[in-house]
């Protein structure tokens, strides 16, 4: 097909893929809500729902343009701000309408913004979180999306990132670490056991995330071509291997396979394959599933023993697994499968260098930018609820609702 033409097959798939990725945000809300205590269920879920509102609006206003307008090194221009010139004509390099390309990329920005909330649940005030979500989506996500997808310096330099190891996984994971450090630990952290209140939500959330991830990785080829098919199939293979590996690690550690461990493994596997999905063979994708489990499992075991209350382990599941996936490409990318480049194992050591560059600058920028953003916000407003409110639970304090309301003892107030 000639450049500048719309392909109906590609467009049909990308419409469906966009909807699949959008589902990942409420799925993440369910996953997160199950991991917190029952008194914070709704607040936790609402932080993800808030991303659907705030990140979408910011993305349409300036975020998309900063990420995808022009090929400057650090950040894009404002030529597409407020969707200027984003029309039915095909997006450069694809055969789908520019407008659809915008919508598909918007769903990435939304879910990534929602991911960061996992670091600050059960204590952050809802209002300041909304402001943070908007600013973060522009200052961190859009900038890093430009680096990896929009013609920024990483992409220009030759770094391969199929579906967002840089702007989605490492950005959210290392930002989560910074957010947890600035906002501080929950008052009960380290003093009492804080347990997930509903493991079924966590499993269902993870399952729906995996389902949505087929659109996330499978859509990142923007076509129905080989790369998309490879990415789609690898999204099945890698998480399955991570899951099986996690079972083994659980058995070695405590002789029992845990449900919340399994849900975590699904996410870790999906994250691991995200950057590599369209670049490695199915066989290496399965190996990646095994490899990606190890560092993330270690961080999940060690982190709760530290003082850092990075509450829902965004760093371990996303930051570390994204890091593993990005580096894995440097070793095992295979030109016979991806048509673009080989990795070290297939004779191209330079690719590992390009990947290592991304694995250094992405965590550094995400951590520093988020740290500074929240420190500046803290000068103008209180980021946390008061201790008494934290005890009562944020569902009642922030939203005036309960997740499991019975109605007993409630008196109807006539309007």
């Amino acid at each position: 097909m000639a450049a500048g033409q719309i392909d109906s097959g590609d467009t049909a798939w990308m419409l469906a893929a966009t909807a699949l990725v959008l589902l990942m945000t409420p799925a993440l809300g369910l996953f997160y809500a199950g991991l917190v205590r029952s008194k914070n269920t709704l607040n936790t879920f609402m932080m993800c729902i808030a991303a659907l509102a705030i990140a979408t609006v910011c993305w349409a206003a300036v975020g998309y343009s900063l990420a995808f307008n022009g090929d400057a090194g650090f950040v894009g221009g404002l030529g597409n701000a407020f969707l200027h010139d984003v029309t039915f004509a095909p997006r450069e390099g694809t055969h789908i309408p520019h407008l659809l390309f915008f919508a598909f990329q918007a769903t990435f920005c939304i879910v990534t913004t929602a991911l960061v909330s996992g670091a600050v649940v059960e204590r952050m005030r809802f209002g300041p979180f909304l402001v943070f979500a908007g600013l973060w989506s522009i200052l961190v996500y859009s900038v890093m999306a430009h680096w990896a997808f929009g013609g920024g310096f990483l992409q220009a330099h030759g770094t391969l990132d199929f579906a967002g190891g840089v702007p989605v996984e490492m950005a959210s994971g290392f930002s989560a670490l910074a957010a947890a450090l600035v906002v501080g630990a929950r008052k009960d952290w380290g003093r009492q056991a804080i347990l997930p209140h509903n493991a079924v939500y966590v499993l269902l959330g993870a399952g729906l995330l995996w389902f949505g991830w087929f659109g996330f990785n499978g859509g990142s080829g923007f076509s129905t071509g080989d790369a998309s098919v490879l990415a789609f199939v690898n999204t099945l293979l890698t998480p399955a291997c991570t899951l099986a590996t996690w079972f083994v690690l659980d058995v070695i550690r405590a002789r029992q396979v845990t449900a919340i461990g399994a849900a975590t493994a699904i996410v870790v596997g999906c994250v691991g394959i995200t950057p590599a999905a369209g670049f490695v063979s199915p066989g290496w994708a399965m190996a990646l599933g095994v490899v990606a489990a190890l560092p993330s499992y270690a961080v999940i075991m060690l982190r709760p023993r530290s003082r850092v209350d990075e509450t829902l382990d965004v760093l371990a599941a996303h930051g570390v697994a994204g890091f593993t996936g990005i580096l894995f490409i440097g070793f095992f990318a295979q030109q016979s499968w991806n048509g673009i480049s080989n990795g070290l194992v297939y004779g191209n050591a330079a690719q590992l260098g390009h990947q290592a560059l991304a694995a250094v600058v992405a965590p550094a920028y995400a951590f520093c930018a988020t740290f500074v953003l929240l420190k500046v916000m803290a000068r103008f407003t209180r980021l946390r609820v008061q201790e008494g409110e934290e005890g009562l639970g944020l569902d009642i304090v922030s939203h005036g609702e309960e997740a499991y309301a019975t109605g007993e003892g409630a008196i109807l107030i006539p309007v």
Binding site: D188, R191, Q192, G388, G391, L392, G393, I396, G400, E401, E402, A405, G407, E408, G409, A410, I411, L412, I413, V415
Partner: protein, 117 residues
């Protein structure tokens, strides 16, 4: 022997358990209850329905102790349960007529004394 009944905030449960442990009070039961003790009602809204919720979640401790331990138990409940806001709860101390430890048939003071002591 007395039965000390303490009704506290659920979020202070762990603090109370810790204080009781330090006071060497080992035998207790706890139940989740709902009640009203003069704190402000909360207003909740679900779509168009606005309600005033008059009862709050509480945790009720029941602790049977020998007379020597009554004051220590009360102090522990106060220390662990207090926030200073309305709604911290109440403590009731009631006389107990008879206590039997089911396993051994021991009665009264012997039955409320922890095994290790």
């Amino acid at each position: 022997m007395k039965l000390v009944i303490g009704i506290v905030r659920p979020e202070k449960t762990n603090d109370v358990l810790e204080a009781l442990y330090r006071a060497e009070v080992r035998g207790l039961s706890m139940t989740r209850v709902e009640g009203h003790g003069g704190e402000l009602d909360r207003v909740e809204t679900y779509r168009g329905t606005t309600v005033q919720v008059g009862v709050s979640d509480k945790v009720r401790f029941e602790i049977a102790v020998s007379d020597d331990f009554v004051d220590a138990t009360i102090e522990a409940l106060c220390a662990g349960g207090r926030t200073g806001e309305v709604g911290d709860g109440k403590i009731f101390v009631v006389p107990v007529e008879r206590v039997v430890r089911i396993r051994t048939g021991e009665t009264d003071a012997a039955a409320v004394t922890p095994v290790s002591a």
